[in-house]
């Protein structure tokens, strides 16, 4: 009876349901709209801008439009024709007057070391536009570099509108004058090491947090509510002080004249102060401390939901405590372990202040290089490219986690 009714009224019923649901959907949308707009302007737009900056190549096309146009049909073999030299001379003179030559010089200097000098000195020495037909000779006379193919391929490679230069540089790759992708010269190839270091520190801190946080979360989840709330305050305490204060506290504690070294020396355990800070040890120590709550909280919330009856059931079925823990308890905490590790790892690989304050030169992570390029050398392209690579690896990890977490839930098929 019911089935016949539903089947007969199928279409209108669906439409009615949709209409009824629509009001709810609008209300839900209204509730999230402010946050959505906030995120759009503070997160999505800057992020898109940053990614665009990592491929944007505006300097040379804007400063040297005629040269870019003249090089349009140069095949990259030998030197370009007379017209290109004339266009270059004209562009340099215009740009020098407009004061924009340095912008192009800086961009081209990334590709060929010393290009800045070539371009700026050419600008100084080029008093007037060379007579028709003599541009090539004049230019090479002013700066011999104009007689080298490499200078011209540099301009052509930087003639926009987009470039892979920054992204390649961020992973220690570059293009040779023929346009093929090759390893960067050894003195410039540092980012792969920095990324490896960043991920090593990230994994290390995550492992330490898991190792230290798991027992604490277990304790918190299994204590009576009153005492677990008290302990929880201690876990959350670090959140109430600023990151900077906490990091500086570590400097006070760990430095050569600090509390730890002072006590150890006083006790006669050591003669010389141990080097506990401005090295990798200090970085691990301080970052683990700062990030520990991000591990404990997800673990705690998952463990809180695991009934003690499971461990009892396992024991009554004959499992010794270790077996019961490994086969019954631990697998049920995996969602918490996954969430905690992901959270800590993603936060850790973005760390900047802590390694900058308590680490040595060889402990700086990728963020400090990004900061260096944005604030010191104003190389937005490379800073953005490094950021994009970091973002990409984070997204890949998050997706991997999602796939694993989702895979666990759906194994065994859906109900009915």
């Amino acid at each position: 009876m019911t089935a016949a009714f539903v089947a007969g009224a199928d279409v209108p019923l669906k439409r009615r349901l949709k209409r009824a649901e629509r009001t709810r959907q609008f209300r839900a949308l209204g509730l999230v709209l402010p946050l959505l707009a906030f995120l759009l302007f503070t997160f999505v737009v800057p992020l898109a801008g940053m990614i665009w900056k990592s491929v944007d190549d505006w300097e040379v096309p804007q400063v040297m439009p005629q040269t870019v146009a003249a090089l349009g049909h140069w095949n990259g073999q030998g030197l370009p024709d007379e017209a290109a030299f004339a266009a270059l001379a004209a562009d340099i003179r215009t740009a020098r007057e407009a004061g924009t030559l340095a912008v192009a010089a800086k961009r081209l200097n990334y590709v060929v070391n010393g290009f800045r000098t070539t371009l700026l000195s050419t600008g100084r020495k080029l008093k007037e536009q060379p007579a028709p037909g003599t541009a090539k000779d004049t230019m090479i006379e002013i700066a011999p570099a104009w007689g080298e193919r490499e200078s011209w391929t540099a301009i052509k490679s930087a003639s926009g509108p987009v470039t892979s230069y920054y992204l390649l540089a961020a992973v220690d790759l570059t293009r040779n004058p023929d346009g093929a992708i090759v390893q960067s010269p050894a003195d410039q190839a540092i980012y792969r090491d920095v990324f490896i270091r960043t991920f090593t520190i990230g994994f290390g801190v995550t492992a330490l947090c898991l190792l230290l946080g798991f027992p604490v979360a277990y304790l918190l989840a299994n204590l009576p509510t009153g005492r677990s709330n008290l302990l929880m305050i201690f876990v959350l305490l670090p959140f109430w002080t600023s990151l900077l204060v906490r990091t500086c506290a570590w400097i006070v504690i760990l430095q050569s004249e600090g509390i730890v070294n002072g006590s150890l020396q006083w006790l006669g355990v050591i003669d010389e102060p141990l080097r506990l800070i401005y090295n990798r040890f200090g970085v691990y120590m301080a970052m683990t401390h700062v990030l520990l709550p991000f591990m404990i909280l997800p673990l705690y919330s998952v463990m809180r939901g695991i009934s003690p009856a499971y461990m009892r059931a396992a024991a009554s079925l004959g499992a010794p405590p270790a077996t019961a823990f490994l086969r019954i308890y631990l697998p049920q905490t995996i969602p918490g372990i996954g969430a905690g590790c992901l959270l800590v790892f993603i936060l850790a690989i973005g760390y900047y202040i802590t390694p900058a304050l308590v680490g040595g030169a060889a402990d700086q992570m990728i963020s400090s290089f990004i900061a260096f390029y944005t604030t010191e050398t104003v190389n937005w392209g490379l800073a953005s490219a490094l950021g994009a690579v970091l973002l990409l690896s984070t997204v890949v990890l998050a997706l991997l986690y999602g796939k694993l977490a989702l895979g666990r839930q759906t194994t065994g098929g859906l109900k009915n």
Binding site: A309, R312, S316, L317, G318, P320, R327, G412
Partner: protein, 369 residues
């Protein structure tokens, strides 16, 4: 008093002077001495907080007796951890491992015992067949209904052939129909597999249906341990009389006791003869216990002096299908209940003055409440 319904009387488990306190001030279990026989279905019945679950937990090994010891066979088990006790347990909310399939759940007790893969497969298949859930072997517990989960929990607790099976209110979460069905299924498993079962419940109907013997707990003490029919027909104190089944209470003072029969002067006037069960001597206060189906309603004085007779006014007749419940107002008890067999209340109407009549052997003089 002890029931002799089961053939074997070998003692499997013995509680010897067991006490338990959690806070050091208040005893949850006060001096428990209890024998559990091999092959019997023993139910621990009592209101919440009576100590029945604590007793079960001490037997399972999750709680340690503060005083005394528990023996399985001749072996004291106070210091034996739960996983070495060889006791299967079914928990209140089943406690099926949510991350394992039904098959893996049932295989768990076998695999922790290092049994070969082939044998595990065989025994798990047999266990799942026994509970008729072989087709759901690959499902997770969350995908099963409450009744199905219950059966899996049973299979898991039985698959390793434990010496003893404990059940802690296993049917509490099921609806009435399913609960009744599962009661019969557990009973069937108990009989066909020759299990020794210790079952905890606060539902007296469940206890009466399933048990060989019932231990009634109250206030940390076993009030009475007996066969279901004996508990109902011959309660030894007022708590048991009131806790098991319907009970009418009349209060009074003992006048004299002769050869097991007590004459009791009711507080509301009149006197009756009752079986002296749990009273001191003459002059003591007592509560008389009367089962509603052991009382007759008489419209006139038949003059039979062999029965006790008290005047009453019929206040209500409630039709309940298989029987009719008469509610009467007597001076001694304003809500006296009488169960009338179906079709035997003709001629009665509310407001009518009648007599309630009962034989002395159906009226038990117990401790005052």
């Amino acid at each position: 008093m002890d029931g002799g319904m089961i053939a074997t009387t070998d003692t499997l488990v013995r509680f010897s002077g067991v006490q338990k306190t959690y806070d050091g001030e208040h005893l949850v279990v006060k001096s428990l001495d209890l024998d559990i026989r091999k092959g019997e279905f023993l139910t621990l019945l009592g209101p919440s907080g009576s100590g029945k679950t604590t007793t079960l937990m001490m037997l399972a090994g999750f709680e340690v007796p503060t005083q005394g010891d528990i023996f399985i066979g001749d072996r004291p088990i106070k210091n034996t951890p739960p996983h070495k006790r060889d006791i299967g347990m079914v928990f209140q909310n089943y406690a099926l491992f949510p991350h394992l399939t039904i098959e893996e759940n049932v295989a768990f007790p076998l695999s922790v015992r290092g049994i070969s893969k082939a044998e595990i497969k065989e025994r798990v298949a047999a266990a799942l067949d026994m509970i008729k859930l072989g087709t759901l072997a690959g499902r997770r517990p969350g995908q099963l209904s409450g009744g199905q989960q219950q059966r899996v929990a049973l299979a898991r607790a039985l698959v390793f052939n434990p010496a003893l099976v404990l059940m802690d209110e296993p049917l509490g979460a099921l609806d009435k129909r399913l609960r009744e069905h599962m009661q019969l299924e557990i009973k069937r498993l108990h009989e066909t597999m020759g299990l020794t079962v210790v079952y905890v419940t606060h539902d007296q109907g469940e206890a009466l249906t399933m048990s060989d013997r019932i231990a009634v707990f109250n206030d940390g003490i076993v009030q009475q341990i007996d066969r279901p029919d004996a508990l109902y027909e011959r309660p030894v104190n007022s708590f048991v009389a009131n806790f098991i089944g319907e009970n009418n209470v009349l209060t009074g003072v003992v006048e004299n006791i002769e050869q097991g029969w007590a004459r009791v002067a009711l507080d509301a006037g009149g006197s009756v003869v009752a079986q002296a069960v749990n009273i001191g001597g003459a002059g003591n206060r007592t509560s008389l216990s009367l089962r509603p189906e052991r009382v007759a309603i008489e419209t006139g004085d038949s003059g039979d002096t062999a029965v006790n007779r008290l005047p009453a006014t019929l206040t209500d007749l409630i039709y309940l299908g298989d029987h009719t419940l008469a509610v009467l107002n007597t001076p001694a008890n304003p809500e006296f209940m009488v169960k009338l067999p179906a079709g035997s209340y003709a001629g009665l109407a509310p407001g009518q003055d009648v007599y309630i009549a009962f034989r002395p052997e159906d009226c038990r003089a117990l401790d005052p409440v």
